[in-house]
């Protein structure tokens, strides 16, 4: 299974490029380690640890959604590819064992690919920054436990989803409620929600409380094992192959999208039928709305919860909203296979451009709603127009840049280090400029406004250039 995962990812970018991904993570971690002093001038080490653990937890959650994905692999019949998740149909092996195998595969794969190189980066920075190797080791253990907790919870949730959707909704709502109680109302400590964070806070360099550390780690391990065991016992594969007949909705969508002409109209209509029937609206919630909610919470928490005077305003928030879009574009590329397009007079660039349009139709309304809401909540309606403009241009730039770099295989190409490097630079630089300039709005609004104008103009021109480049770059690509 590990080999299969490795070959799936490396088939797009090549073996050597894929293997440079952990090197990239190592370098990034080393860079962060060497510049941590600067970061700690703004936030405390505890706040940094909080963000890191929350990120690891969310990362574990996102990796562990394979309970649902596994079923999709089986249902889609993956064109010419066949995946080992289908083994139980042909070999004397149970689905439970296969799913447990996937769980362990994902755990090992992402620990080796991300957590280990990130830790080694910190180890490499240690001699220069005076980090204690013991602290780094304890940090690795804590983050590993947090990641596994997220992975196990997600594994359980996805298995529950297959058996009983209302139970899944209840479970998700309960978890969201617990985090709201913690974040907005302060009723629950983060240590109670993520016990491994409690472990982190009880060991060096924070405290030295062996009893609390042991308790935190014990609860985390027991919780992760219990959730995995429960998920294992609940695993059920129900292929929804049934005789249900569906009404023909494609002609109605085709009539609705009369603003588009010819081929684009047909492709856009089909994308919307796919979105509706595949249940991607629910997935969209996780891929787009949830990150936006998290971002809104973070913006609120930093401003009012932590009361850090960094000036997170609506314009900064709007830029972030624009950059979150890449997740949604990725989902659009994962709805279905596209092999059958190779039989029709359609090219890869045409489909990429249609998905950009679909992305904009899907997200701009939601993004605008969030930006307006945050502007009102922050009492910054005077910045609303500027914030909306920033959101619109960064959204457009981000999706076009992602589409240009990764085509129709975003998930796999982002594991190609050369693509990831370009992606990081192309998203980080404008993001950094807009962040600094938005923070300066209340200090020197004229200079900040001029700067934001220049950045937006540059992003607009880059968008145009990249959009035109999609034809050149992807015209020879296969679906």
């Amino acid at each position: 299974m590990l080999k299969e995962e490795f070959r799936t990812h490396s088939s797009y970018s090549g073996r050597s490029r894929f293997l440079t991904f952990p090197v990239f993570v190592f370098v990034l971690s080393l860079g962060s380690g060497l510049t941590i002093d600067k970061m700690l001038e703004t936030i405390s080490l505890e706040q940094f640890a909080t963000f890191t653990h929350l990120s690891a937890f969310i990362y574990g959650l996102s990796v562990g959604a394979f309970g649902v994905m596994g079923r999709e692999y089986l249902e889609r019949r993956y064109g010419r590819s066949n995946y080992l998740v289908a083994m139980p149909f042909l070999l004397p092996i149970s689905f439970r064992t296969t799913f447990l195998g996937i769980y362990l595969r994902d755990a090992v794969f992402y620990i080796v690919l991300l957590l280990v190189p990130a830790t080694l980066g910190l180890v490499a920075a240690a001699p220069f920054m005076g980090f204690s190797l013991v602290s780094i080791g304890l940090f690795f253990i804590a983050i590993l436990m947090t990641f596994m907790l997220g992975l196990s919870l997600s594994f359980l949730a996805s298995v529950v989803y297959i058996r009983n959707v209302p139970a899944f909704v209840a479970l998700t709502a309960a978890i969201a409620f617990a985090f709201i109680l913690h974040g907005f109302l302060g009723f629950i400590d983060l240590e109670a929600l993520i016990p491994s964070f409690g472990f982190q806070m009880s060991v060096r360099p924070f405290e030295s409380d062996p009893a609390a550390a042991a308790l935190g780690s014990l609860i985390t391990v027991v919780a992760a094992v219990l959730m995995t065991a429960l998920a294992y016992s609940l695993v059920e594969v129900r292929l929804s192959v049934h005789s249900q007949l569906y009404p023909s909705i494609l002609p109605a969508y085709h009539a609705r999208f009369r603003a588009f002409k010819g081929l684009n109209r047909a492709l856009i209509s089909k994308e919307f039928v796919d979105l509706r029937r595949s249940g991607t609206v629910a997935k969209m919630f996780f891929a787009f709305v949830l990150p936006l909610l998290f971002l809104s919470f973070t913006a609120w928490f930093v401003n009012y919860g932590l009361a850090i005077p960094v000036g997170f305003n609506s314009v900064f928030y709007a830029a972030m909203v624009g950059f979150v879009g890449v997740l949604m574009y990725n989902w659009l590329n994962n709805i279905d296979l596209a092999e059958y397009y190779s039989l029709l007079p359609v090219t890869v660039p045409q489909l990429i451009k249609v998905r950009i349009v679909v992305f904009l139709l899907l997200t701009l309304g939601i993004s605008a709603f969030f930006v307006v809401a945050i502007s009102i909540l922050n009492g910054e309606t005077d910045l609303l127009l500027l914030a909306l403009l920033v959101m619109f241009i960064t959204s457009l730039y981000t999706v076009v840049m992602t589409a240009y770099l990764t085509g129709l295989k975003t998930n796999s190409f982002l594991f190609d280090t050369s693509v990831l490097m370009k992606f990081s630079v192309m998203s980080f630089l404008p993001d950094l400029c807009l962040t600094i300039l938005s923070f300066s709005l209340f200090v020197n609004w004229m200079v900040a406004l001029a700067g934001i104008g220049i950045v937006l103009f540059s992003l607009g021109m880059s968008t145009l250039f990249l959009y035109r480049g999609i034809d050149r770059k992807w015209s020879g690509a296969a679906f």
Binding site: G79, L250, L263, K270, D274
Partner: protein
Amino acid sequence: MHVLEAKGIVMEFGGLKALDNVSIAVDKADFFGFFGPNGAGKSTLIKILTGQLEPTSGSVDVLGIDVVKEPLKVKELIGIVPEVESPPTYLTGYEYLYFVGKVRNLDNLDDRIEKWLSFFDLEAKKGTICKDMSKGMRQKLMLASAFIHEPALLFMDEPFINLDPIYQRILKDYLEEYIAKGGTVFMASHILEISEKLCNKLAIVNLGKVVAQGSIDDLLKGDENLERLFLRSVGVRPGKGE
């Protein structure tokens, strides 16, 4: 003038030659059979001839169009039935044909859809989404989507696979009629019995090289049938049971 002419096609995958200097010519109203053992390069050649794959070297001309330079234009004119039936997961049979019709900008689309759903006995299941269809239904849908625009040239990779004997017969009759009306077929298949009755020309490929090519009457020796010709061409002697 040939409706299909491929010259010196070479296709390499990571240094491995899947096709080695393959040249083929097909005339109007030919039923051209393309045969070879598993992994001989049949599907790869069909992908190259239909503009789905760019060859390492060589030229392909289909209906007067350079396929390497203008693959899209070629796809507008031809019909393709792929080796693996892979219609879109979430569209119904009706919707897939509607989608293909809109992509190809066809007139009288409802009449065409009705005709092909009826031809393949898919009317009662026209509301079934592709992921819920049996392999046979999916194959019928792929055939219908290749025929719906009445192309002058059909490329078919194992078209009889997954079809029951009734529909193998119906498809065979349709293809004979299609050829009689001036259509051209390029077909790869392992079902030699049916192919022998349909094809007037053929090529046999082995390890990426064409080892026999010409009219079926010229290639068959004495009372030899297509199966024996195939085995002889790829260097396999018939077993004891023969």
